[in-house]
């Protein structure tokens, strides 16, 4: 099977780049996969991608750019030239741009690649129906909220034009099926990128370290976490290190620099900047607790799965999708109300200063991560890919030309065994 994957890919800092990296890595280890074509965004300063050694040939076609209106043409041309058996899109609504037209044009691509006869699968990491626009810092204006909702509905309909749309939380399937009457939606869990050997849960020596990992500035804001840890330092008269690991969200450039300036006199506050793949294990292992300083959520959390993989306890906002995910996949954590510094401090305190709780949360998260490794998620996708490829072959045999051009939002996933 030859798979084309449309996604940002490290060292590109586009969102979902790490997910793509790990999925490619695990797909490349499957006997059914013969070749992968990575259709990704161009790196700054005309730098070239240097890929690690994968088990099958992986080629890069860096043909698109954030906010570029010609992305659909470039991507569809790359797909056509590659002639893959399946095209997989790793997306969120702003993957191709934060300007309305470029973002919308980009989201049309899966439907267009399906029209060209390539079975197309979209992994959509969030849906607009569950995003609180006000909490996410997008808008509080009722008129703009209405416009965003309408635009989101329209773009979701466009994405449902792919052969199959997968989401990482079961609640999303229910929303899409009930609102859009879609029958081509399926749950495929996020999965854990890596599963290192069982960590030493008991060992918590050295300075306590509170870490947040991600791309910050939109709905991930670190000020309250810094204030909360500062409260605990004073309360317990102890040095506690704060590590902000990651970079600005592409939609909030300059955010971390402004935070660093605001807290320039604070001790034991570290901004790591962009974290390269090789440094991720060290960043997680050195932390005592991983905090999710989110004001809203937009889908499943790769960071929570990583925290689980390294056996780390989590402090999570008591909101929406994260809470749902925790319950669904068996993760565990201390919860806080966003906007309440004292509440966040209490949640961190219950982990840092209650050793049995810290160990119990760590063990639960490791067990949850171990139960859904990315290697098996790759198999989950292959099951769907094979089903779609088989369906395409059957349609070709029947030789009905219009069949592959018909929108499939109402079509059903065809049984692989039939």
């Amino acid at each position: 099977m030859k798979i084309a994957i449309v996604s940002p890919f490290p060292p590109s800092t586009g969102t979902l780049n790490e997910y793509a990296y790990h999925l490619v890595q695990h797909l490349s280890e499957k006997p059914d996969v013969e070749e992968i074509v990575l259709i990704t965004d161009k790196l700054p300063d005309q730098k070239e991608y240097e890929l690690p050694d994968f088990k099958v040939p992986v080629s890069v076609k860096d043909v698109w750019e954030f906010n570029k209106l010609t992305n659909p043409v470039q991507i569809l041309r790359a797909i056509y030239k590659s002639q893959p058996d399946i095209v997989f899109y790793n997306l969120q609504f702003l993957s191709f741009g934060d300007k309305k037209v470029s973002a919308a044009l980009g989201l049309l691509i899966p439907f267009l690649s399906k029209l060209m006869g390539f079975p197309s699968v979209v992994l959509l990491h969030n849906i607009t129906e569950t995003v609180d626009l006000e909490s996410a810092g997008i808008t509080s204006n009722p008129v703009l909220k209405f416009i965003f909702a309408m635009t989101g509905t329209l773009l979701t309909k466009v994405l449902l034009g792919a052969n199959l749309l997968t989401v990482t939380i079961s609640k999303y399937v229910k929303v899409l099926e009930s609102k859009y009457k879609a029958k081509n939606v399926a749950l495929v869990p996020h999965g854990s990128f890596e599963l290192p050997s069982i960590p030493d849960f008991e060992n918590s020596q050295g300075m306590k370290q509170v870490m947040a990992f991600g791309k910050f500035g939109t709905y991930k804001k670190v000020e309250e976490m810094i204030e909360a840890v500062d409260l605990l330092r004073k309360r317990h008269n102890e040095r506690i290190e704060i590590v902000i690991a990651g970079s600005d969200s592409p939609n909030a450039k300059g955010y971390l620099e402004s935070v660093a300036k605001q807290y320039q006199d604070m001790a034991d506050l570290v901004f790591t900047g962009y974290v390269a793949e090789d440094d991720v294990p060290r960043i997680f292992r050195e932390s005592t607790v991983v905090v999710f300083p989110y004001t809203s959520t937009t889908g499943s959390s790769g960071v929570l799965h990583q925290a689980g993989s390294y056996g780390k306890p989590a402090v999570l906002p008591d909101i929406g999708d994260l809470k749902h995910l925790v319950r669904e996949e068996g993760y565990s954590g201390e919860f806080f109300l966003p906007g309440k510094v004292e509440d966040l401090a209490g949640a961190i305190e219950r982990v840092l200063y209650d050793e049995s709780n810290r160990i119990s949360l760590s063990r639960a998260n490791y067990a949850a991560a171990a139960s859904l490794p990315m290697a098996d998620i790759a198999d989950w996708y292959l099951m769907h890919f094979k089903s779609l490829i088989k369906k395409k072959k059957r349609a070709s045999v029947r030789n009905i030309p219009w069949r592959s051009f018909w929108p499939t939002a109402q079509q059903e996933i065809v049984p692989a065994g039939m």
Binding site: S170, V173, K174, A186, L187, V188, P189, E328, E329, G330, A367, A368, A370, S371, L372, D376, D379, W380, M383, H384, S387, E412, I413, V414, P415, A416, G417
Partner: protein
């Protein structure tokens, strides 16, 4: 007996029947997978998993079904499932598994189709 899960095996002609009772989730999914793997490794190629007593299945549990199906297919065997209650059936439908795995209403119907 595992955390919140009980497994029993039976044989009907050439078919091995595994009955699961309780909740299949992240806590016990690895143990159930290992139990299933052993059954397949012992040479059983016709496997029926009866979920009549299963109250709940999480994503981790779905993964176990997927792995069993893959392992049996690779060994040219066959997996069938039966007895899904409404809650479990909904989870299978959300994952699109109802269209990919062979699922029957009850054990008799599944056995007839092997």
């Amino acid at each position: 007996m595992l955390a919140a899960m009980q497994m029993t095996t039976d044989v009907s002609e050439e078919v091995t029947i595994l009955s699961l009772d309780g909740d299949l989730n992240a806590t016990n999914s690895r143990d159930v997978e290992s139990y299933l793997s052993n059954i397949i490794d012992e040479g059983n190629r016709k496997l029926l998993i009866n979920l009549d007593g299963l109250n709940y299945i999480s994503s981790a549990g779905l993964r176990v079904m997927l792995m069993a199906n893959k392992k049996l297919k690779n060994a040219e065997g066959e997996l069938k499932l039966c007895g899904l209650n409404d809650t479990v059936k909904e989870v299978f439908e959300i994952a699109g598994f109802h269209m990919i795995l062979n699922i029957y209403v009850n054990q008799e119907e599944a056995l007839r189709d092997f």
